[in-house]
Symmetry: C2
Subunit: 112 residues, 2 copies
DNA sequence: ATCAAAGAGCAACCAATCGTTGCACATACC
DNA sequence: GGTATGTGCAACGATTGGTTGCTCTTTGAT
């Protein structure tokens, strides 16, 4: 069984800066490229690019308000991402358990 | 609270090709750059580079056997990765729940 | 009403990474 | 010995994450 996953989602969430951005957006309930860049060690333009990729995969949605563009996390899509994270984790966990079981069986057969 | 995570581990696991490689190594109990490249749509040299980064972060270990170099998954490090995946997932999940709770509270106060 | 300040967008550029091809070297086997 | 197979190294191109610099729009203060 393949653990191949929605690659777009993963690449969105695989970047540490984007994870921090999602974190900030969740914490503050939304933000603009400018407000985010104030809380991050990168420029507004870099933040804007990241928001672009997050938006392209539907992880955030935008609303214009005057001259500002406010980004918020899309709950449904974040839930999907969380589900996939835990799915991969669970799969690997299961394989580790199985390997561990095999190792123990070998150990037993050696001891017995 | 920051969800900042061991970035090396994440960048190792954030790449979809490397995830597939880990999968294959777990499934087969080990492999070489050549055997992996046969099961992947990329060249042996590309696989070798990926094995390099996985090795650098301790996700795999190598043993030389004749002219072959056999890679196996390091169980301890994979377990760490799994733990971090589920940690991020749990954090986001909690925030989603909290937001959902707030939304419901607002809904109630509107209705009440 | 005008004009400076602040937010956003666009383009060019740089460095790192993921892929490629091509070649040299080492080991296995006939 | 010679050929096939596994590995390693280097150069190259495309993409990506960051930068700087500029322009445009909106706000708001004088």
């Amino acid at each position: 069984m393949s653990v191949t996953i929605d690659d777009e989602l993963w690449s969105a969430v695989g970047d540490s800066t984007r994870r921090r951005m999602l974190d900030l957006l969740l914490n503050d309930g939304g933000g603009t490229a400018t407000t985010l860049s104030r809380q991050l060690p990168i420029t507004r333009q870099a933040v804007a690019k990241h928001l672009g990729v997050l938006h392209r995969v539907g992880m955030v949605h935008v609303t214009s308000l005057g001259r500002e563009r406010i980004y918020e996390v899309s709950q449904a899509q974040l839930a999907r991402a969380v589900a996939q994270l835990s799915s991969v984790g669970a799969t690997w966990d299961a394989r580790l358990q199985r390997i561990k079981g095999i190792a123990e069986a070998i150990q037993h057969s050696r001891e017995g």
